[in-house]
Amino acid sequence: MTGSQYYGPLLGPEARSHFDEQLSLTRQGLIELGSLVTENLRLAGEAMQENRLDLIPEVRKADLAINERYYELERRTFEILARQQPVAGDLRFLVSATRIVYEQERSGDLAVNCVNMLERLSGFPDLPLLRSLLTQLVDASAHTFQMSVDALESMDPESGVRLDRADNEVDTLVSLFYAEIGKQAETMGLESAIALSRVGRYLERIADHAVNIGEHVTYVVTAEFPKPDHVTPSDRP
């Protein structure tokens, strides 16, 4: 059962009923919210890569909009649940939507936390290897989160597994990043080291949220959560 066939086209003229339209709108809302988070994440990444402190207020402002949307979408989803008494696939989708929307909002907050660190240090230290790793990490994290948005678009049952694999790359990069921080700790000072390691942690957790979203998509379509084929030592939220 593929996604778009199962959940109706996004507001196409073939939308069969009022309820289908509501489901469709909900899914669209999730995709939009996810896209906003991805965008803001990339913006935060840009700020961090080029030490552009002027972008920080923009990131914060964008996150306010994200929070608004989150409240709105969650509220609407609860209304649909109350009024339509959904069952089976519809129920799985709507309950998962409330969870997905939370994961997305948290991810948005984590992006803001990153630029908070940037602000605290008034710019990251200019250490090339470190910067390069940071860039890669940001890209990987953003890419993974984008994958979660794509999963919402495609409703692919394999999403959970695929995102889990993508997350492994992020975990690898985070380990390298920490190692480099360790090496450069004396050079940049303790405060910077701590701040940067927190940034690493935030970016890793964004990817974890993305994995959760992917797993929810799998659950909605197949009625089962994907079995973990390895246990990650990192703490999952």
């Binding site: 059962m1 009923s17 309820f19 008494q85 089976a88 519809d90 129920l91 009625a223």
Partner: protein, 298 residues
């Protein structure tokens, strides 16, 4: 456990194809059937390849399922899917319809109800029924309940039996002072509870309910649903309902029947899926079931 087991019980079919399920395995082994269904409860009825014809019209096609003791089983499905016909097979009420013919096996505590020498009157004394429109006798409340036991030769304390039946039907407090009054003076919900009391007065172990709440207002409906949960401790209940939410709220297991056109273009009812209610309403195996319960058809 349950997904594979239930699929095995009713016959396998791919969710996408929507082909008719392969004929279910017919097993004499009670333990195997119980295990396949994932429950430890004893089996009250075993239905095997049951078919019902009204004259030429093939109303119900090849149904096989087990009903478990002291559980509430609901039959759901669109109109014309044969769920009421199916229900009436359990107490041989179809006998009363001219031209009705039942083939296959329906065993109750091991005895085939349609076997030779089985007296339908005796069957109905052990398997009670409540109907869609409340139908108390045009007599007093007392007489309504006393009638059944009396004709089955009850010799004990009639008043005590009446009080017990009315208490079990959650009606005693409301009518204890007016047992001699006409049953028609009661409200619709009360009349239906009176019919339930009447049905259990003959001490059956099964109560069949054919859309018992469809003529009642929502409050009366909820009271009867509450009552069913109490009754289930003593009686096995099978309920036909066109209200899916009711089936979801009330039943332990749900059987979904659907209408199919046979090769002659006639409508036939057949069993599509039979599973624990929680599972059927969160992750049904059959596409047709999902479409029906989500309101995409039917």
């Amino acid at each position: 456990m349950t997904a594979d087991a239930d699929r095995a019980l009713i016959g396998d079919t791919g969710p996408e194809t929507g082909e008719p399920p392969t004929p279910p395995r017919f097993s004499l082994d009670m333990a195997a059937r119980r295990q396949a269904a994932g429950t430890d409860a004893a089996v009250m009825f075993e239905v095997d390849d049951l078919n019902v014809h009204y004259g030429d019209f093939h109303a119900v096609f090849d149904v096989s399922l087990d009903i478990y003791e002291r559980q509430i089983t609901s039959f759901i499905g669109p109109s014309g899917c044969g769920k009421s016909t199916m229900l009436r097979c359990f107490n041989r009420m179809n006998d009363l319809i001219e031209g009705a013919r039942v083939t296959g096996r329906l065993r109750y505590h091991g005895t085939d109800l349609y076997g030779p020498g089985v007296d339908p009157v005796e069957v109905r004394r052990r398997i009670g029924m409540v109907f869609q429109k409340p139908n108390p006798f045009p007599k007093s409340i007392h007489e309504n309940i006393a009638f059944g036991p009396r004709i089955t030769g009850f010799k004990g304390d009639v008043d005590g039996l009446i009080e017990d039946s009315l208490r079990r039907a959650a009606l005693w407090d409301e009518v204890k002072d007016k047992l001699a009054e006409s049953a028609y003076a009661l409200s619709g919900g009360q009349q239906q509870r009176l019919c339930i009391a009447r049905a259990i007065a003959t001490n059956p172990d099964v109560v069949l309910m054919d859309e018992p709440c469809s003529a009642l207002d929502p409050i009366a409906t909820l009271r009867i649903e509450e009552l069913m949960q109490e009754l289930k401790e003593t009686y096995t209940i099978i309920i036909v309902t066109h209200n899916m939410q009711q089936a979801a709220r009330v039943s332990d297991r749900t059987a979904f029947f659907n209408v199919q056109l046979n090769e002659r273009g006639q409508r036939m009812g057949r069993l599509v899926e039979y599973a624990p209610t929680g599972k059927l309403f969160t992750r049904p195996d059959q596409r047709a079931t999902e479409d029906y319960i989500t309101g995409r058809f039917g």
